[in-house]
């Protein structure tokens, strides 16, 4: 039995780097410090494994040799006139770099999962910039934390514990004592309410109910760190917040612009905006202006709902406006552990963060046209390579239909809905568990992923498989060029 320390978790954009993995032989038997998502991955990753290369023959997926699967993949990519290479967010930066080379070689479109995650955020950042920072700054200094359209309790379970409200910073204290007190008083109040209802003591009932309304302000003492959640429904994160504002679905843009107006001291001639009373917005605006360092963490609640890019545009503009009065920052809550890395590697290699089209022989970027969902909806692509992703389980139906109509190559460590629909399946290793590499945390901090156990026989790292396909593609193109030259001679 051995303990591997300081393992970086390969699940969400938090990339927690304090994970301890207990290994017996070549099996992970326990994991310490991980959240429910991280623990589930470390303990279950090997249960639905893709162990052999497969190709579709006569309508069925059958086992084959690695050489044949690589050869078939290369043939599909060379024969295609507009292939898409999609995924990349759950693999290492090293593999993404090879993927970009492959996309250029085959003249395809390379897109990563930010296209259906924070793609609109990237577009808005390109329009209006970003006032960013690392998560360490927030941990130690932020006294106002706003989660807008995101639910870290479910999607980034250790975000609050490691980086924001529930962490002990150098200049800011953790809120856990306050939260415990609140949960305790809430549960006591509920018990008393039940007793009062049973004993039909109306006066006692009214007093307890009135107490709940008065209690709301006790958390908002000026010197304490505060948490605000703005969302369309009361999530688990909202339960931990000092302030929860429920916005109507698709009305975030209006609320953000109303806040901008209030911050400029303008009066609003309405009673509510996007389902939120103007008094509550005024209170939030005061809180924002009055803080010493505030941050807005925003999630796909803003990028996926009506307004999309304009919602993010408004949120960043609000942050910019607030910097006239105090220090304010903004950060997207990135989903997959290396989606930020996918954007970064793509940018340093091609100049563009996602949706890069090599069909003209040089990188071209026009999300809405060169983004994978749009290409699929138009039916423009004629083959696809999917790596470290599962678009059949994540894309809208119309896009999936288009994806599976054409030859599909899948590089995956486990059996997924996409691998079941594939024409060629190449078994890979789990980056961060079986293979080392580099990942970028949501605040653009690079971290080293470790290989803590050996992969099963026959499963190769993404980077190696991509290099094999790239070599084969070049060989096929070389053969084709040689035979053309021979015919001409």
């Amino acid at each position: 039995m051995r303990k591997v320390s300081a393992v970086v978790c390969p699940v969400c954009g938090c990339c927690c780097d304090d994970i301890e993995v207990i290994v017996d032989g070549n099996t992970i038997v326990d994991v310490v410090n991980a959240c429910a998502l991280g623990a589930s991955k470390f303990l279950n990753y090997n249960k639905h494994r893709q162990r052999r290369p497969m190709v579709r023959k006569g309508g069925r997926l059958v086992e084959t040799s690695l050489e044949e699967a690589v050869r078939r993949s290369a043939e599909i990519l060379v024969e295609a006139s507009y292939p898409i290479l999609y995924g990349w967010s759950s693999t290492s930066c090293e593999a993404i770099r090879v993927g970009l080379e492959l996309a250029e070689e085959v003249g395809g479109v390379i897109d990563n999962t930010s296209t259906i995650c924070h793609g609109p955020s990237v577009l808005a950042v390109q329009d209006v910039g970003l006032s960013g920072c690392t998560l360490g700054q927030i941990r130690h200094r932020a006294d106002l934390i706003i989660y807008w359209g995101c639910n870290p309790w479910s999607a980034h379970p250790r975000h609050m514990e490691r980086y924001t409200a529930l962490t002990e910073g150098r200049f800011q204290r953790s809120l856990w004592r306050r939260l415990l007190l609140r949960f305790y008083t809430d549960s006591m109040r509920k018990k008393m309410l039940r007793v009062a209802e049973l004993s039909l003591i109306k006066r006692l009932l009214d007093r307890i109910k009135a107490g709940r309304a008065e209690e709301a302000s006790y958390t908002l003492r000026r010197e304490e760190r505060k948490v605000v959640v703005v969302d369309v429904r009361r999530t688990r994160t909202a339960d931990l917040a000092d302030y929860f504002l429920r916005v109507e679905p698709g009305k975030d843009y209006e609320v953000l612009q109303a806040l901008r107006a209030l911050i400029r001291d303008e009066e609003l001639d309405v009673d509510e905006v996007g389902g939120i009373p103007v008094e509550s917005l005024e209170e939030l605006a005061d809180l924002m202006i009055g803080c010493r360092l505030g941050i807005i963490f925003f999630g796909v609640g803003l990028t996926m709902s009506e307004g999309k890019i304009r919602n993010i545009d408004a949120a960043i503009s609000l942050t910019r406006d607030l910097n006239r009065y105090t220090k304010f920052l903004i950060m997207p809550m990135r989903g997959h552990f290396n989606v930020t890395g996918a954007n970064i590697v793509s940018t340093w290699q091609t100049g563009y963060p996602y949706a890069v089209d090599f069909s003209q022989g040089y990188p071209r970027y026009n999300p809405g046209e060169t983004s994978v969902v749009d290409i699929l909806l138009r039916g423009d692509s004629d083959a696809a390579l999917v790596i470290a992703s599962d678009p059949v389980a994540t894309f809208p139906r119309a896009a999936v239909k288009s994806l599976v109509e054409n030859p599909l190559i899948v590089i995956t460590p486990d059996v997924t809905p996409t691998s079941l629909m594939a024409d060629v399946v190449l078994p890979s290793t789990f980056v961060g568990i079986e293979t080392a590499g580099t990942t970028y945390r949501m605040d653009h901090v690079p971290l080293p992923l470790k290989g803590v156990v050996e992969p099963p026989e026959g499963c190769l790292p993404d980077e190696e498989l991509l290099k094999m396909i790239l070599r084969e593609v070049r060989a096929i193109k070389g053969e084709a060029a040689a035979s053309t030259a021979l015919v001409k001679a």
Binding site: V62, N151, W153, A155, S305, S371, P396, R397, A399, V404
Partner: protein
């Protein structure tokens, strides 16, 4: 049978995140994502009980999932389905030129149904069919 107009939201949940790591073909994954969280009052309005099947229909398709009482209520007029192959059938693929489909705030109707919840294999064959899965011949279309 009563039909209710709602706004459909999709998103992550802890269980969806946890069980997708176990495997998307697992029973636990299906039980965590083939569900529709509804406001208890809305459920009473259309005569739905916890655990009964509900048909969610949008202009992009319809899907049958299990109705569960939302613990995040009250949120009348809004239903929530976690990300997954079931919600994908009914979300809006339109990207409005941003590359991003509209996965939240889709207009929908919900109604009780006796139809069964499709398994993942059935979804793959019926919605995206034409291929056999895992080496097996396709038998229904």
């Amino acid at each position: 049978m009563d039909t209710l107009k709602v706004s459909l939201l999709t998103g992550r949940t802890v269980n969806q995140g946890k069980w997708k790591e176990l495997g998307k073909l697992s029973r636990e994954y299906m039980e965590s994502v083939a569900v529709c969280e509804m406001d208890p009052q809305d459920m009473r309005r259309v005569g739905l009980r916890e655990g009964r099947n509900v048909k969610v229909t949008t202009r992009f398709g319809s899907v049958v999932v299990k109705a569960v009482k939302s613990k995040r209520g009250p949120h009348p007029g809004k239903v929530f389905i976690p990300y997954g192959p079931w919600s994908n059938i009914v979300v809006d693929p339109e990207t409005d030129g941003t590359g991003m489909p509209s996965l939240k705030g889709v207009e929908a109707t919900v109604e009780p149904t006796e139809e069964p919840v499709m398994s993942l294999e059935k979804i793959l064959m019926r919605c995206y069919g034409g291929r056999s899965l895992g080496g097996e011949e396709r038998t229904d279309a």
